[in-house]
């Protein structure tokens, strides 16, 4: 028994020394890391709350970057008359003091319907990228055009992070997988990066499996829809490179009823 303990101790010491030598041989200081508080929230075109209420909630959580889905731009919907003519991202940016970026998915009800990003830091580059679908293909289901909105943000550390907001197809699993594959390929060379939004897919779905080939989940397992009677999780924040990005904390808000979705906020380091 004594001999076994000595052998084990020697092995552990050897491993520690080997690790220390490895660390010492890697020259220079440890790479800088940044911490960000990231939120995602599907607003359900403002049917259930005012922009003032939503902005108040966002401000109270002091996120650095927010991904927002189902954002109208000067539409006139019968189902959300109090939001008629409102440009969601402009008003939320105005009320939160953050910078806003809007991406149109479709023309809708005299305005646009799409997604947006709020950022505490300047956006140095952005791009609205159309996601693939089967529209126009014979025998395939026609679906609503979808996009991802990409914002490259320069942080005070001088490092850049690419933040992407998206809202995947709702009714076709086949299209969602296609969109996930496209996201992986299109953002293959971009790192570090975070992608957040409504993926319309549960954690065990093929679309999420596809995303997780390249991205690390930075949210918990809590259900996100519906807000008052949650039955599944379809909202996420992912990050890459998978080996570098880590989730320090996450919270799915169970007591916020400003939409049919529950918002998520995660503090991440990369």
């Amino acid at each position: 028994m004594k001999k076994t303990v000595i052998t084990l101790t020697a092995a552990v010491l050897s491993a520690i020394m080997s690790f220390a030598q490895e660390q010492a041989s890697s020259s220079g200081p440890a790479p800088a890391r940044d911490t960000l508080k990231v939120m995602t929230y599907n607003l359900r075109f403002g049917e259930l709350a005012s922009m003032a209420d939503i902005a108040g909630f966002i401000s109270s959580e002091t996120p650095d970057i927010v991904a927002l889905q189902e954002c109208d731009w000067a539409t006139y919907r019968e189902r959300a008359p109090k939001q008629n003519g409102v440009r969601f991202i402009n008003e939320l940016a105005y009320r939160t003091g953050m910078f806003g970026l809007y991406g149109k998915s479709i023309d809708y009800k005299q305005g646009y319907y799409g997604i947006g990003i709020l950022s505490r830091y300047p956006v140095v580059r952005s791009e609205r990228i159309r996601l693939p679908d089967c529209n126009g293909m014979e025998g395939k289901k026609q679906t609503e055009p979808r996009i991802m909105l990409l914002a490259e943000i320069e942080l005070p550390s001088g490092r850049h992070v690419t933040f992407v907001c998206t809202h995947l197809e709702v009714s076709s699993s086949e299209v969602r997988v296609m969109q996930s594959q496209f996201i992986n390929e299109r953002l293959e060379d971009i790192s570090p990066a975070l992608i957040a939004g409504d993926f319309n897919a549960t954690p065990d779905s093929p679309a999420i499996a596809e995303i997780q080939k390249k991205w690390k989940n930075l949210t918990g397992p809590d259900f996100t829809i519906s807000s008052d009677n949650p039955v599944k999780k379809i909202d996420y924040i992912f990050g890459k490179p998978q080996g570098q990005v880590e989730m320090l904390s996450t919270r799915t808000f169970t007591d916020v009823r400003l939409s049919d979705h529950r918002p998520i906020i995660s503090t991440v380091i990369f």
Binding site: A93, Y94, G97, F99, G100, Y102, P122, E127, E154, G158
Partner: protein
């Protein structure tokens, strides 16, 4: 608008424009407007005397032509909102607001202007991001923007811009970029982006430190003959108006615009081909 300033500006643009038209040969027919001088130097075609009004667009550049304080330090953003809302007819493709600095945690002036006009806001930083405040130029436009590009070339000149579908004789995707130049190295960086075709087809509108204007003009003539450079100064300012574009565009004119409290330069561009 002070007449003296207006006349100075127009005269300067006139003389610089005329100067840019020397030493050029006709288009070589490659569709890019590029030709070649007898000594083998690339060149670009003259700007036609006649303006095709169908292909003219404007950019409003709000600036003090200084760099010592925010444009909105002593001005209310409502003045800019009123200016934008009062426009009619052929509207400017974009409004640029020099030194609309980004102060973390406070509403950016572009956000306020965008909120009240319904336009889309963008921010072009002209220095590295800081924890508290970052210098930069704001852009607002009525167009839904697909791309907002940035570039940080040699010399650490920041240049960014939007690409928007401008209504000319046909709808043309046009890049509208802005920058602030304090050194000839920064100009080289910006110019090489254009000659390297790393930007969308379009124009740069910004400001240049007055002391380097002559050196930049010499450098442009010697090393970047396929670009069109326009600069114009206003008395008693530290910076001059700066316009740089590829051969397909011409700066036709600019006016000192706005009112006493809101200095603005309206730049007229023509898409030539």
């Amino acid at each position: 608008m002070r007449l003296k300033e207006y006349m100075t500006a127009i005269l300067l643009v006139g003389s610089i424009t005329a100067g840019c038209q020397g030493n050029v040969t006709p288009d070589n027919g490659d569709g890019n407007g590029n030709g070649e001088t007898p000594d083998g130097q690339p060149s670009i075609p003259d700007i036609p005397e006649e303006t095709d009004e169908r292909n003219v667009f404007t950019v409003d550049f709000f600036t003090d032509l200084r760099d010592d304080r925010s444009y909105f330090a002593d001005r209310d953003h409502d003045m800019a909102v009123n200016h934008i809302k009062s426009q009619s007819g052929n509207l400017p493709a974009a409004y640029l607001f020099d030194r609309s600095d980004f102060v973390t945690g406070q509403p950016n002036p572009m956000v306020l202007i965008a909120y009240e006009t319904g336009y889309h806001p963008f921010f072009v930083q002209t220095e590295k991001t800081s924890e508290t405040a970052t210098k930069g130029t704001g852009i607002v436009t009525a167009y839904s923007v697909s791309d907002f590009d940035s570039a940080i070339p040699a010399g650490m000149a920041f240049m960014s811009g939007i690409t928007i579908p401008v209504q000319l004789s046909t709808i043309q995707n046009t890049g509208i970029y802005t920058t602030t130049l304090d050194s000839t190295e920064q100009f080289e960086g910006i110019a090489s982006l254009w000659t390297g075709k790393r930007l969308n087809d379009g124009v740069t509108v910004g400001k240049i430190e007055s002391g380097i204007k002559d050196d930049v003009a010499d450098m442009a003539a010697a090393r970047y003959p396929t670009l069109r450079l326009f600069m114009a100064g206003i008395e008693e300012t530290d910076y001059d108006l700066f316009v740089l574009c590829p051969a397909a565009f011409a700066c036709r004119n600019f006016e000192v615009w706005g009112n006493e409290g809101l200095p603005c330069y309206r730049v007229y561009f023509e898409k030539l081909f």
